[in-house]
Amino acid sequence: MKKTITHNRTLYQQAIKESFFKLAPSKMARNPVMFVVEVGSVSTTLLWFQALMSQGDAPAGFIGAIALWLWFTALFANFSEALAEGRGKAQAESLRQMKQQAPAKKLKRAWRKEGSKPTENDWTQVSSTDLRKGDFYLVEEGDTIPADGEIVEGIASVDESAVTGESAPVIREAGGDRSAITGGTRVLSDWLIAEVTSNPGDGFLDRMIHMVEGAKRQKTPNEIALNILLAGFTIIFLTVCATLLPFSIFSANASQQGEPIALTSLMALLICLIPTTIGGLLSAIGIAGMDRLIRRNVIATSGRAVEAAGDVDTLLLDKTGTITLGNRQAVEFIPVNGTPIEELARCAMLASLADETPEGKSIIALAKEEYGIQESLLSAEESNPMEFIPFTAQTRMSGVNLLGHIIRKGAPDTMIAHIQSQGGTASDFLKEVIDKIARSGGTPLVVAKNGQTLGAIHLKDVVKGGMRERFAQLRRMGIKTVMITGDNPLTAAAIAAEAGVDDFLAQATPETKLKLIREYQQGGRLVAMTGDGTNDAPALAQADVAVAMNSGTQPAREAANMVDLDSNPTKLIEIVEIGKQLLMTRGSLTTFSIANDAAKYFAIIPAAFAPIYPQLGSLNFMGLTNPILSAVIFNALIIVVLIPLALRGVPYRPLSAAELLRNNLLIYGLGGLIVPFIGIKGIDLVLSLF
């Protein structure tokens, strides 16, 4: 806890320092609204000097105060950006630490893949920075992986905690879906030979550092569009203020009293009117959105993808791991041939005692919980020597030999063959039961004792808790969920119905996935999907938002525009929410910013023109004594007040678009109209104390 406080203090100190550096015109010019603020600050400061030296167009104290608060406006905006960047920088720093140069064992050209571990003669010691795409290297126990690579040979456990924060080592092996390794991670055991997939400075870790630092941050399309709209508003208000000078000169001449509007007041009015609140916070909102992703251990390769995530209206979700727990669970014992159910449960349990798979464990759990088979009941038998028969690819069944009884369980076809070889027969009823289980989306196992069928175990894909509600939520948000599975259509339909997804693709192949995505996109939909295998790569490349699992292959990670370091497929839903939150924060603060202007007019216009037309004083219904300064201070302070909201994002609730609009309009539209009246009045009251 103490550490975070000091950490935060340095973060704030750094951000304050940064906000001054960011005043450089070359940096301010990237944001038209804030650039106008800086020009306004400079010119009022010059007016202040003029007032100090000789005659100013208003009291020097007033001009000085306005100038000061205009500078604050610019600084506060810079501070918000620096703070957002700072949070990412800290993370980038820790990433960079592990990106020190590492020695690499580069394999000589003469080396040929031959299945055995290369000897010392086969490689030369080089620096990791000397490795280029297409080179091969060897990593052994204790080595740091020098560069991103695709394993061509070997199997090893790798500590990827530096990238994922997950301390448990992971297995990486050639071929299959877990063949990518990341530079900077460490091999814990065994050895690997990998082909370099990225040049130095271009690797996954480098890109990650760039992303979290915001160094390579490019404005996203939607951000550009909003920037244009804000620039449009700024030009309108520039015109309004610039033409106000001739209007007031004419009016002063006509009414033969008062002076034309003071340039300081005009500057103050301009800065109050242009959308500084959203203009100042816009870049912080974007960076913070990216930061929220990173906190959830998702690295996006472009901000565009985050925005698109908010927009997605079709989610393709892999059944296994996302919708279901990924391992089948026993849910029912179905006895045949008049076997008592307890006997079936007992034998199923015995056959599974040595079975370490989740399926096996779930059989024991079911026997205990549903049928009350206590271990004590077994104890008598347990004292006798048990000979466990493990599952092998050849026999495709497992079981136990106990007191001369041969107890086996396994897939139906294997078991039927086993039963027949033992002289038993498979009844029609058994076949019917097996069929029924398969049709309902489950997997049947058959249990036999001494060649006699006892019954079947119903293994079921268990839908994760809360998924149904989650999909219903998504539906209310207008997002369609599609389950992708390799199962047959019958099974798929059953699970789809249970999970409550809108649609499913059964017997999915990489080709059918790609085709499905194209069809949805043709219909104008934006599609998001997750994937990890190399064969997912084409579909990932086609999808609008593609999240690759960090445990996936290099091609999958290349094709995707986001990588989930936790390799948790459910996260797609969170990513969508983050994207939506990002857009909502922008829209809400824009509305708030523009709505604020009404109050500022009522504060500034009467005050600015009162010398010419005292009658306008009746518009000053707030009864302000320092109207212009109060409005300018409010305008600056509101940026600071809203920084937490910009960094956190507006609260997101899964509601329909109509409900969201109503809520946000009430809060940010109506609130934006009312709040400044109260705020300006309050500041004025405080000022009048001095």
Binding site: P221, N222, A225, L226, I228, L229, G232, I235, I236, T239, V240, A242, T243, L244, L245, P246, F247, S248, I249, F250, S251, A254, L269, L273, E307, A308, G310, D311, D313, G478, I479, K480, G524, R525, L526, G579, K580, Q581, L583, M584, R586, G587, T590, T591, I594, A598, Y601, I605, F609, Y613, Q615, L616, S618, A657, A658, L660, N664, L665, Y668, G669
Partner: protein, 579 residues
């Protein structure tokens, strides 16, 4: 605000709604190239015109070609009107022997009629020959209106089409607009107006003896009166229907020969908003969701009724200075009460206020009362309606495309607020659309405020101002608002027929029309090329009361923020000074 006024306004709104759907449906059929009940009659003529002009109606144009065609036609029209004015003294149909119009005034008028503004710096019956009125101004009344409607048709197609490069054929849209919509409606309306006593004649002005000779200020006796004549009814019909507004006579529709009876007044007012209102339905029908059209219609109506209420209330209140002097300005059995300065007694407060609101809501600009004589707040309503950008009904075609551009901006911000990349009618609103929409919102503000500021700084501008102080600002601001948004109505009180105003207002009219048409067509081209996203619960609905309120809010807020300071120094302070 008497009950009688509300009944008259209610009657007007009912009539307007009643015509909106049938006419809107009819126009949708015309623009979609479907057959209508007028086809047996007019189709041969249409085909004949295509053959004559070598037009292939099926040849579709992309947005650039479409824009080019529209601009070429308008440039040609502009030059034609200019030439007619300059050469009218040697051309036929000039019984009053009018001389050539001065160059600056001719330029102003040519731009004015080409751009559907119909601002008139000149007095019609004392400047233009019948030939200029009919072949110059009369023809432009049709063509400028048809240009606006054709551009709108192309704009709507941008929403209606999917992955298409083309927006239709400009020449076909133009021909169909004139042939199937404007001509039949004008013919009907002019006959109705003639029945009410509006003049329609090619005779020169007639001199009549006064039954009761009068003596003028110099003491000379006047026994004769000149009665102006001309082909007025036909021109008035299209002037109202095509939101042109240029009167045949200088005093426009307050002239008894141009607008003699309450019925002619009602018909002309109805004609002002008839097509702009019905086009909302056309829009809904063409995008296959009439709710969208009605939503836009309702947004317009809400702002319209709001501004109308303000003007009606302010005018019925009368002049506070007069009240202070003990004058009875209450409505009663024997008097209409209120501020009757500059109003015709045969129309009264309600019909004057309604006309003033309708003519400024639509970019019509015809008047039946003197807006300069309105109370400050009464004049604020019409002035502000113009400043909103002529999008509350607005000009035929141009009003709706202007409002739809605002809808795009409203959708953009609202879309962000619901966490979706914004889309309107299934079309994604992206960088290009926002760039163009910002231009559409920006250009009128730049022209109006920039023009007014220039006029107030220069002697040439100040010299023409009749009233000093806040009212003077109102006069200049009104003139540039009217020109910059192609309304054409005048506040009067400003002598605008000077080289300075003729040129600056002419430029304002050019910018306000063509710098809007180009970005609008560019948006249409970009939208047409896009795919349509299917509607889901995550889609922002754009036909609900909430969205209508939001759209009204955006329009009002942008209008208020842009013009509040200028209005504060004009009508608002004037109102406060009267108290």
């Amino acid at each position: 605000m008497t009950i009688v006024s509300w009944i008259q306004i209610g009657l007007y709104m009912v009539a307007l709604v009643a015509f909106t759907k049938p006419l809107g449906m009819f126009m949708a059929r015309v623009y979609q190239g479907e057959r209508t009940w007028l086809h047996p009659l007019l189709s041969p003529l249409e085909q004949f015109l295509y053959r004559m002009a070598n037009i292939k109606a099926e040849d579709e144009m992309d947005w650039k070609t479409y824009a080019k065609a529209a601009l070429v036609l308008n440039l040609f029209g502009l030059l034609m009107v200019y030439a007619l004015q300059r050469l009218q003294f040697m051309l036929p149909f000039n019984p009053a022997h009018m001389l050539a119009v001065p160059a600056d005034s001719a330029f102003n008028t040519a731009v004015s009629f080409a751009s559907n503004t119909n601002w008139q710096g000149y007095g019609g019956e004392t400047t233009m020959s019948y030939l200029t009125q009919m072949f110059g101004l009369g023809v432009q009344n049709f063509l400028s209106a048809a240009t606006g409607m054709a551009v709108l048709a192309a704009f709507i197609r941008g929403f209606a089409r999917e992955q298409s490069q083309s927006l239709g054929n400009f020449w076909a849209d133009l021909t169909r607009t004139v042939l199937y919509i404007l001509l039949p409606l004008s013919l009907t309306l002019s006959l109705a107006l003639v029945s009410q006593g509006v003049v329609q004649s090619l005779q020169p002005a007639q001199t009549a003896s006064l039954m009761q000779p009068v003596t003028d200020e110099d003491g000379s006796k006047i026994g004769h009166q000149t009665l102006p004549l001309g082909p007025a009814a036909s021109q008035i019909a299209i002037k109202q229907l095509g939101t042109n507004g240029g009167g045949f006579f200088n005093t426009n529709s307050s002239h008894p020969f141009e607008n003699p009876t309450p019925l002619s007044n009602f018909l002309q007012m109805l004609a002002i908003l008839l097509i702009p209102s019905a086009l909302c339905y056309t829009f809904g029908s063409m995008v296959k969701d009439t709710r969208q059209g009605w939503a836009i219609w309702l947004s317009m109506t809400l702002i319209f009724v709001g501004a109308l209420s303000l003007t009606l209330w302010a005018e019925q209140q009368g002049n506070p200075v007069l009240s202070g002097m003990g004058a009875d300005q209450q409505a009663g059995l024997w008097q209409s009460g209120g501020n009757m300065e500059g109003k015709e007694t045969r129309f009264g407060i309600a019909n004057s206020a309604l006309w003033a609101t309708a003519t400024t809501a639509a970019s019509n600009g015809s008047v039946n009362s003197m807006h300069d004589s309105y109370t400050p707040l009464g004049g604020l309503g019409p002035l502000w309606l113009i400043q909103l950008g002529e999008i509350v009904f607005g000009g035929v075609g141009s009003g709706l495309y202007g409002m739809l551009v605002f809808a795009i901006i409203a959708v953009f911000i609202a879309g962000l607020m619901v966490g979706r990349a914004p889309e309107y009618l299934g079309k994604k609103i992206e960088v290009f659309e926002i760039k163009m929409a910002s231009l559409v919102a920006l250009i009128p503000v730049l022209t109006i405020l920039g023009g007014t500021a220039a006029a107030l700084l220069l002697y040439a501008g100040i010299r023409s101002i009749q009233d000093p102080g806040p009212h003077g600002i109102s006069e200049v601001l009104y003139a540039f608002s009217s020109a910059g948004n192609n309304n054409g109505s005048a506040f009067a009180g400003l002598n605008a027929n000077t080289p300075f105003y003729n040129v600056t207002l002419g430029l304002a009219m050019l910018a306000g029309r063509y710098w809007i048409i180009l970005p609008v067509l560019a948006i249409a081209g970009s939208l047409a090329a896009k795919k349509r996203s299917p509607v889901s619960l995550g889609t922002l609905p754009t036909h609900t009361p909430l969205f209508i309120g939001w759209l009204v809010g955006v329009v009002v807020m942008v209008g208020a923020l842009s013009f509040f300071p200028a209005l504060a120094l004009g009508p608002i302070v004037e109102h406060l000074m009267l108290k």
